[in-house]
């Protein structure tokens, strides 16, 4: 799965600001760090502000500061501000009315498979807080010992 651009920008902003809660960064500052559109990011930051996760600081040297609880806010909380991942329903069945072909046996089976993936995605994003990601990100992409185990099979 791939997150929408606004969602990704929101996560970048929250994690960058929460990395040092005392630091103020403008949309331009964050956009420069991640090589993304400052205009798009400005709208994303307003959405994060409405959700209470950042506050804007006016005046010279102003910008945004992280105002959430890094130990209580999960990646899923941030994602849910911008999109509903797993809108296909869950592994136990489709919550909404059937879409194209979903009323057929094959459509229902495919929906079940998508539901499994969505459930795992939600559980994963919902289990990682902002504080946890910042604390453990040194190990992400490090290959982890698990890959060695897989290679030994």
């Amino acid at each position: 799965m791939r997150l929408q651009k606004a969602t990704l920008f929101g996560l970048y902003s929250i994690l960058e600001l929460a990395r040092d809660p005392e630091r103020q960064l403008s949309a331009t500052d964050i956009a420069r760090i991640y090589g993304i559109s400052a205009n798009h990011l400005a709208k994303v930051l307003r959405d994060l502000g409405r959700a209470g996760l950042v506050v804007s600081v006016r005046g010279a040297g102003g910008g945004y500061k992280f105002s959430g609880n890094a130990r209580r806010t999960t990646l899923l909380d941030v994602i849910n501000i911008f999109e509903d991942i797993g809108a296909t329903g869950n592994a136990g069945g489709n919550a909404g009315p059937p879409g194209d072909g979903e009323g057929t046996d094959i459509g229902a089976a495919l929906l079940q498979v998508q539901g499994e993936i969505d459930d795992i995605a939600r559980a994963t994003f919902g289990s990682i807080t902002i504080a946890t990601l910042l604390r453990t990100m040194q190990w992400y992409g490090a290959g982890a010992a698990s890959d060695t185990a897989a290679a030994g099979e």
């Binding site: 990682i128 946890t132 185990a149 897989a150 030994g152 099979e153």
Partner: protein, 164 residues
């Protein structure tokens, strides 16, 4: 720094379990899960206590009234399941509800990792229900992430027609 400093986390000591600890582990598990499994815990202790590659560790809080039970962790080395290299497994962990948020679980987890490392394994694994946000968040906070295996299951009553 002395282990008996004022902070609850600093007053915690970790030790290997004895058979006498079974009842407290069973009671805590029943409190957390709402399910009483005394036979299961008696069998688990019989299989784990004093066995190589298997560990039951107990966290105790050294308060004024003497050491009190604060939590437990159970782990073991498992080898070669579906081609996996020998790997440490966390079988269970529990911390007394009133003693949480003092990093006791983290102390237990780190102590178990040291034991498993001494046993010669390089990786530690566990299996958590997707709906168990508390434990999944805890293990994530210790740096655990998705491994190369995936859990699969089915009702044993499901059979293909030609097998009936």
């Amino acid at each position: 720094m002395p282990e008996t400093a004022a902070s609850p986390a600093q007053a915690i000591t970790i030790r290997a379990a004895g058979e006498d600890d079974c009842a407290r582990v069973s009671d805590l598990d029943a409190l957390i899960t709402g399910l009483r499994k005394d036979d299961y815990w008696r069998q688990t202790f019989a299989r784990f206590i004093g066995r190589g590659g298997r560990h039951v560790l107990i966290a105790e809080n050294a308060g004024d009234g003497g050491a009190s039970f604060a939590g437990f962790i159970i782990g073991e080395v498992r080898a070669w399941e579906f081609g996996s290299q020998p790997c440490g497994w966390i079988v269970a962990i529990g911390v007394e509800p009133e003693q949480r948020v003092h990093r006791i679980g983290e102390r237990l987890f780190n102590a178990m990792c040291e034991k498993l490392e001494e046993d010669g394994v390089a990786t530690v694994r566990t299996m958590i229900a997707r709906a168990d946000h508390l434990n999944m968040s805890f293990f994530r906070a210790q740096g655990m992430m998705a491994g190369p295996f995936i859990e699969l299951e089915k009702p044993v009553a499901w059979k293909f027609e030609h097998e009936e």
